[in-house]
Amino acid sequence: MEKETTRKGAGPLETPQGVVLHIADLRVVFHTYVGTVHALSGIDLDLREGKITGLAGETGCGKSVTAKAVMQLLPSTAEVLSGRILFGGEDLVRKTPSEMDAIRGKRIGMIFQNPRAALNPLFTVEEQLYFLLHRHEHLGRKEARKRSLALLEAVRMGGAKKRLRSYPFELSTGMCQRVMIAMGLACSPKLFIADEPTTGLDVTVQAQVLELFKHLVYEVGSTALLITHDLGVIAETSDYMGVMYGGRMVEFGTTEDLIEHTLHPYTQGLLRSSFTGEDDDELHYIPGVVPDLRRPPSGCVFEARCAVCVEECRVSVPDMIEVENGHRVACFQAGAAGIADGGKAGSTRGER
């Protein structure tokens, strides 16, 4: 599956202090029948040790591609044009498939959306955990069973012993996701990636799974990347958050900063679309559609849908600029859009 990547850029392989995963200028394109899709146009991202970082954005913004690029699980149509993904003193972009196999599952765990489909229907929970534990921890059947039992108990699976012998079709979706989390954390990975882990779960189950996820990541001392389109999920779980749009990172900072002092018009629009204020019972949305990434705009990617855009936005691409202590934004109008006037920026009121 993995494609030979174009190798560009060199330099020290050390990640900055306290950073587990350092992504710099990551560019990924997909070669499709209808043209070249610029899925990621230069992403920078640092995951701080022991913290949960959320990535938000609409479908097609590149958040899943970012995760798959880290895991080197991109489809064969994808090509990494440039960039570095530093993890544990190594550049993952330069890893061969077999080198990646030794990292995946052991040092980086990952779970996906739709947990029922993510589990193999023809193998019991125990067998699926065994394959993983045997591969990375070299455990025999007996030891693997012991460890699996402990793992299922750690993810608070009721009747863990019985569940070991269950097939995925005998489990609820929430239980399947618990099994996935157990697998993801089985080898105590340094990094844990959750790609839309709660999509498709009932709201009540969703809360339980998120609580468990948060608890376990902190307990294992792992660092997590949480990908979701649901800002509510990020607000509840993440320490840091990044907002992506059209294959670019548009805003990054602590979750608190991003929600309280939103700078980018797109983030403002997203927030207004997901949270309803108390004095406000109207539905909000961002007008327009996401740009065609086969022909990315020459200026700011959000320009066409932005209420506060000016001539400059159409001509040149704004860089990520640090506004205050770790809070970065890519917008020429970040000041103008401001916090006070945030309400009007990039959103439209719809009558009910």
């Binding site: 599956m1 895991m71 699980l73 990646m100 196999d101 030794a102 990292i103 995946r104 599952g105 052991k106 990952m110 996906f112 739709n114 489909a117 993510a118 589990l119 193999n120 229907p121 023809l122 193998f123 394959f131 993983l132 591969r135 990375h136 097939y167 079709f169 996935m180 697998m183």
Partner: protein, 337 residues
């Protein structure tokens, strides 16, 4: 327990199917415009009284319903009647010939499975790469080429031209004798400890097996390929990749178990197909099997053997479906019955 119930239920379901088969073979036997009495006596000097006597002995003067009753009753006792051309009981003649057919078919089946599954998986893993195109073209040719013609080509090259293969005349050279125990030469030669004969049996089997298998290998490879492509694109295989499992584990342990579900039905079907379809190859290679025997008997107007052959083929086919269903149930825990 679960499986036991399934087998019992399916065995009971076999009864109506077999009754249907018996009705059809009986009717076909009666509408064939061949007169068994004439066959038995020879055409000349037919003495009218003797003819009547024989008709009575054979039960041919009875009403058709009585004849059917007797026919079914005899078959349930293992009596398929007489082979008029050889004057042996049909079952005795069949017992000599069926192992030859089964040996050919079973070896072909094994060859098919052993070749087609790895080839199909390989083509799916190397999807759209050079190896996949080669496999695809080869299997397309395999499906398109008629088995008997391929058999003749094989004889031409390997026997006539290269002189590698033994003559296409039967299961074993006339200088070698194998004491029949099971009727399967491969087993019997081993039982006798005669390794030379064992090797010779393989040499005689090689070309007919190749001719029989070609088409089936091609079909099965294509099915395994498409089924595996679907499996390899599934979420659970992505999970396995994200867990860094070895490619061999992913493709052959996790993937293949899922990818084998659709081909299993075809493999079951194949066995029945091969027994019926081996007729042509048996003729080409002068293979002394049940298929050739049924055809030559038919040409002689002798319908006892055909009836027996059809009944056996039908029973084998139903049993194959049963085996396929059992395999399915063993592999897929989701199947309820």
């Amino acid at each position: 327990m679960r499986i036991g119930l399934l087998i019992l239920r399916r065995l009971l379901l076999m009864i109506p199917v077999m009754v249907g088969v018996l009705v059809i073979t009986f009717v076909i036997g009666r509408v064939i415009p061949a007169d068994p009495v004439a066959l038995l006596m020879g055409q000349e000097n037919a003495d009218e009284a003797l003819v009547q006597q024989i008709r009575h002995d054979l039960g041919l003067d009875q009403p058709i319903w009585t004849q059917f009753y007797v026919y079914v009753r005899n078959i349930t006792r293992g009596d398929f009647g007489m082979c008029w051309s050889t004057r042996n009981p049909v079952l005795d003649d069949l017992a000599v010939r069926l192992p030859a057919t089964l040996e050919l078919v079973i070896v072909s089946m094994i060859v098919c499975i052993v070749l087609a599954i790895p080839l199909g998986v390989y083509a799916a893993v190397k999807r759209d790469a050079f190896g996949d195109h080669v496999t695809r073209v080869a299997s397309l040719v395999g499906v398109a080429v008629p088995g008997f013609w391929f058999g003749l080509l094989l004889i031409f090259f390997f026997y006539y031209y290269l002189r590698w293969a033994p003559p296409p005349m039967g299961r074993i050279g006339f200088r070698t004798t194998i004491v029949p125990v099971t009727g399967f030469n491969l087993i019997d030669s081993l039982l006798a400890g005669n390794l030379k004969a064992f090797g010779e049996v393989w040499a005689y089997l090689a070309l007919p097996v190749a001719a029989v298998s070609l088409r089936k290998v091609a079909q099965l490879t294509r099915l395994v390929r498409s089924s595996m492509i679907e499996v390899l694109a599934s979420d659970y295989i992505q999970t396995a990749r994200a867990q860094g499992l070895r490619r061999s584990t992913i493709n052959f342990r996790l993937g293949l178990k899922n990818g084998l579900l659709p081909p299993i039905t075809q493999i079951g079907d194949m066995f029945g197909d091969l027994i019926g379809g081996a007729v042509v190859i048996e003729l080409v290679f002068a293979w002394p099997g049940a298929g050739r025997w049924a055809v030559t008997s038919a040409l002689a107007g002798d319908f006892g053997p055909i009836q027996a052959f059809v009944v056996i083929c039908a029973a084998v086919r139903v049993l194959c479906f049963l085996v396929a269903d059992i395999l399915y149930a063993v592999i897929d825990p989701r199947i309820k019955y």
